[in-house]
């Protein structure tokens, strides 16, 4: 537990003034970072010039440079459309639910896996757990559809245990849609997401566990006082990054699982863009929605980062 205090201390920054001496001292770092920044500008920031499209009536024939400017008309069009407001709600809700459940599940799984004593067993379980990551959504949703259909295993079990008296059509009710999507995400990605935490756990000093045992700590307390604090920086960093991703709740899974009856809760921003933008030859709508998503993401991570900074935790920047 002593090392935990040390870690907190480490996060406190030394204030370094910009002086010639310091610059000379860090010459190598500065040259490298300049090259990397140049790379970043070219490959990540230059294409943002395309954002201009959101303020145009973009026609492919006129290209980015000659299309007619329409100011904020595209944004107005988006935000005056009740459907767009609804898809924001859907995206945000699914984003938050997915974030919470996949995030928690990955950590829980990594920690519990770490508690498995047999090394062989650990490896086997870990290998199996990440395999669904390689299945495409169309396969996963296909299996899910089967399992939840009227004659599927889920209905069969629910009938057998008397929880239902007739098969329930899960996909006909909007209220089940978000939980199903969340489950599918957990199912497919938990093992994969856990890899980061597993690698963070390996960095924990084994002597801390020994010391905890000496103090008479049980498994729960070791998890609580050694493992969790050990991977906390990783948890915080991933949480911060994921907070910025809540509006990227997906496209494929909702598209594949959705149907007319649940479309009011199933459509996400990305589906909206495909349907009301690209399919209508309106590329600007997609760009405008993209800018909106980017702004929201950046605002969210700046806030989250500030909170992390206040509480003296690991942070993004």
């Amino acid at each position: 537990m002593a090392s935990m205090a040390k870690r907190k201390q480490k996060i406190k920054e030394p204030k370094i003034e910009i002086t010639w001496k310091e610059i000379k001292r860090q010459k190598v770092l500065l040259i490298w970072s300049a090259a990397i920044v140049l790379y970043g500008i070219i490959f990540y920031y230059l294409p943002l010039g395309g954002w201009i499209m959101a303020f145009q009536n973009y026609r492919p024939k006129d290209g980015l440079f000659h299309s007619q400017f329409v100011g904020l008309a595209k944004f107005q069009q988006l935000f005056s459309d009740a459907t767009f407001l609804r898809v924001i709600r859907n995206t945000l809700s699914m984003g938050v639910i997915n974030l919470v459940v996949t995030f928690v599940m990955a950590i829980v799984f990594a920690i519990l896996l770490n508690e498995i004593k047999s090394n062989g067993g650990k490896k086997v379980v870990q290998t199996i757990s990440y395999l669904p990551h390689f299945l495409s959504w169309i396969i996963v949703t296909g299996i899910l559809h089967d399992a939840l259909s009227g004659t599927g295993i889920v209905n069969e079990l629910l009938l057998k245990f008397g929880i239902l008296d007739q098969p329930l059509n899960f996909f006909a009710h909007p209220k089940y849609f978000w939980p199903i999507v969340a489950f599918a995400n957990v199912w497919k990605e938990t093992g994969w997401n856990a890899i980061i935490y597993l690698s963070a756990i390996t960095a924990i000093d084994p002597s801390l566990y020994e010391a905890a045992s000496m103090d008479g700590a049980g498994r729960w307390s070791k998890i609580r006082y050694v493992t969790l604090p050990g991977i906390k920086p990783t948890i915080i960093i991933l949480l911060l990054m994921n907070v910025g991703n809540v509006l990227n709740a997906g496209f494929e899974i909702q598209y594949l699982l959705g149907n007319g009856l649940v479309q009011s809760v199933s459509q996400t921003i990305d589906i909206y863009v495909l349907k009301w933008g690209i399919s209508q030859n309106d590329f600007a709508i997609g760009t405008a929605a993209g800018i909106f998503k980017s702004l929201v993401s950046i605002v969210l991570i700046v806030i989250a980062n500030m909170i992390a900074k206040r509480s003296g935790e690991e942070r993004l920047f």
């Binding site: 492919p60 089967d146 059509n169 006909a172 030859n281």
Partner: protein, 571 residues
């Protein structure tokens, strides 16, 4: 572009070789009899090795890529002096693919933009073809003057050639490829092959069959009626009212042939009666409760088990998958194959589920791009592809390998040849139909055979299951089309969907159209499932009116008027 460079290199090499060898190609050309159209192209397209032209093509639809050393592709290359490398849409929408191409400014030689075709035209990416057409006899012959005029864009030029729905000579109508109420032959057989003409009779028949035979031979429960409703495939639910009133598939509206006014089929009394009927049947448990949530794969799975007694669908949407599966399990012996019924809302209405004659969909087609360096060569290639010998290679294959010819000159396939023709790997390495280049259905120029095997009557009969044959016999029919009867295309405007499918939200009518689609997707299932139909229908109609369908109808009417006026001069 590496491929272009390669093509250019080969072209240079070809020119050099040609100079050295004189007109070496001509002899080859003389040998190949009846390559109609090659004449028009001069010596440069003759096919001795090394002179091969290489074209590229992109089709903004999903399709099968064939191998680079595909046998028939090379053989066609020998005959026409050109081969074309085709690529297809993968993982993008047509609009995205076309949008990227336009931004990059580089195109393949040939293109079919599919849903993005209009963008290509607007972007000036396409070569106007009107000045060339007369030089190529097969292309010229491909469409009538009137049809060519229909393909003109608003600048008066022709940019693409619609590849499909073109019937040469006498139509060989066998399969009803389109939409219908389908029913399993076992239901008809059980009822003694009754005449079924109305929707009410259809459901009565299904109900009484279901009551008498709730399960299949192996004890699995029947599903009396299912509705496919997955994504764009929900036409199986929504567009029946136009057919029930005796109109053909104009797709988005009904056109009254007498007054030449468009009618919204979503709000007709027939539409209400149809959905009310579905609602009743849903409450009775006749309509599959999973109808509105099943995916296409699940729907195909249900049909493939033979449990589904009836449904509305288009033939191509289920038959290619389902028929094989039924046959494999021997379910055709139990009468699980589907036949269409001539259903209308009332007795005495002439149904138009099947239309004879081709349908010219003017909204897209094969075009040549500004990146093509040899427009004449490209058109010569298209021209040659329409010659009978090459056309037979494309659709029938190689004589003795893919089909045999009997003493009367009639083509036929052995069972093994049929198996090969449906094998993915064999198709990729051997068959080359250039399917998105212009092609014909109907009768071959030899006046004996069909342009492609699926329309060859003998091929068709041999492939029919016994239960279907028996059913046809009972109704005095020989083909699926006979089950329905046929009628001519209703008028010069037909089909209106070639206009509505290109509408975008840029116009008021297009916006209304998109919204109507969205609303129908959500509310039609609700209407069918509602415990109180009347109030559900009223709610649906309220929301539907909110989409401003009149704006859509007005634009459709305008287009209808324009088409009729354009057709005036051919009267």
């Amino acid at each position: 572009m590496k491929a272009k460079k390669l093509a250019a290199l080969l072209l240079t090499a070809a020119v050099a070789a040609g100079t050295l060898a004189g007109c070496g190609g001509d002899s080859t050309q003389a040998d190949s009899n009846d390559v109609a159209g090659v004449e028009g192209t001069g010596g440069d397209s003759a096919g001795s090795n090394g002179e091969m032209k290489h074209f590229t093509a992109f089709f903004a639809v999903p399709g099968s890529e064939i191998n680079d050393d595909n046998e028939i592709m090379l053989k066609i290359g020998e005959l026409t002096g050109a081969i074309c490398k085709e690529t297809w849409l993968t993982g993008q929408t047509a609009q995205e693919a076309v949008g990227t191409l336009i931004a990059g400014g580089e195109y393949p030689d040939f293109i079919d933009g599919g849903d993005g075709a209009a963008q290509l035209y607007e972007a000036g990416a396409l070569i106007p073809l009107d000045d060339y057409i007369d030089q190529y006899p097969n292309i010229k012959e491909y469409l009538t003057e009137e049809e060519w005029d229909k393909l003109r864009q608003d600048d008066g030029h022709i940019y693409w050639i619609q590849q499909f729905g073109n019937i040469y000579g006498e139509e060989k109508a066998t399969t009803h490829n389109d939409e219908a109420f389908w029913i399993q032959t076992r239901v008809l057989e059980w009822a003694g092959y009754p005449e079924v003409h109305t929707m009410d009779q259809y459901f009565d028949l299904i109900e009484s069959y279901q009551e008498a035979n709730p399960t299949m031979e192996d004890g699995m429960e029947n599903i009396p009626y299912t509705i496919l409703c997955d994504d764009w495939r929900y036409f199986c639910l929504e567009n029946a009212p136009q057919f029930l009133d005796g109109y053909p598939n104009d797709g988005s509206v009904i056109v009254d042939p007498d007054t030449l006014k468009v009618i919204d089929y979503n709000t007709t009394p027939t539409a209400k009666r149809y959905f009310q009927k579905l609602n009743e049947e849903y409450q009775k448990g006749i309509v599959d409760p999973e109808s509105f949530t099943q995916t296409y794969d699940e729907y195909i799975a249900k049909l493939s088990t033979g449990r589904v007694l009836g449904m509305i669908d288009q033939w191509w949407d289920f038959a290619y998958n389902v028929n094989d599966a039924l046959k494999q399990q021997g379910l055709d012996k139990q009468g699980c194959n589907y036949v269409p019924l001539p259903i209308t809302i009332e007795e005495g209405i002439k149904n138009q589920w099947h239309n004879s004659g081709g349908v010219l969909n003017v909204s897209s087609g094969l075009a040549i791009t500004t990146s093509c360096e040899d427009v004449e060569g490209a058109l010569a290639f298209v021209d040659a592809l329409l010659g009978q010998e090459v056309h037979d290679l494309r659709y029938w294959g190689i004589e003795g390998v893919d089909y045999e010819v009997d003493e009367n000159g009639e083509f036929y396939k052995t069972e093994e040849m049929r198996m090969n023709a449906s094998d993915t790997a064999y198709k990729a390495s051997h068959m080359c139909s250039y399917s998105y280049f212009p092609n014909y259905s109907g009768t071959s120029r030899d006046n004996i055979n069909a342009m492609s095997p699926q329309f060859q009557p003998k091929e068709f009969y041999d492939a029919l299951s016994e239960d279907v044959q028996k059913c046809f016999e009972a109704y005095g029919a020989e083909t699926y089309v006979d089950m329905l009867g046929t009628s001519e295309a209703p008028g010069a405007w037909y089909p209106m969907y070639s206009f509505s499918s290109n509408m975008t939200t840029a116009t008021e009518g297009g916006m209304a159209w998109a919204k109507m689609d969205e609303i129908k997707h959500e509310y039609l299932p609700k209407v069918v499932m509602a415990s109180d139909f009347e109030s559900a229908w009223e709610e649906y109609m309220g929301v539907y009116e909110g989409c401003n369908p009149q704006a859509f109808l007005d634009e459709m009417q305008e287009e209808l008027d324009r088409r009729m006026e354009a057709a005036e001069k051919y009267k």
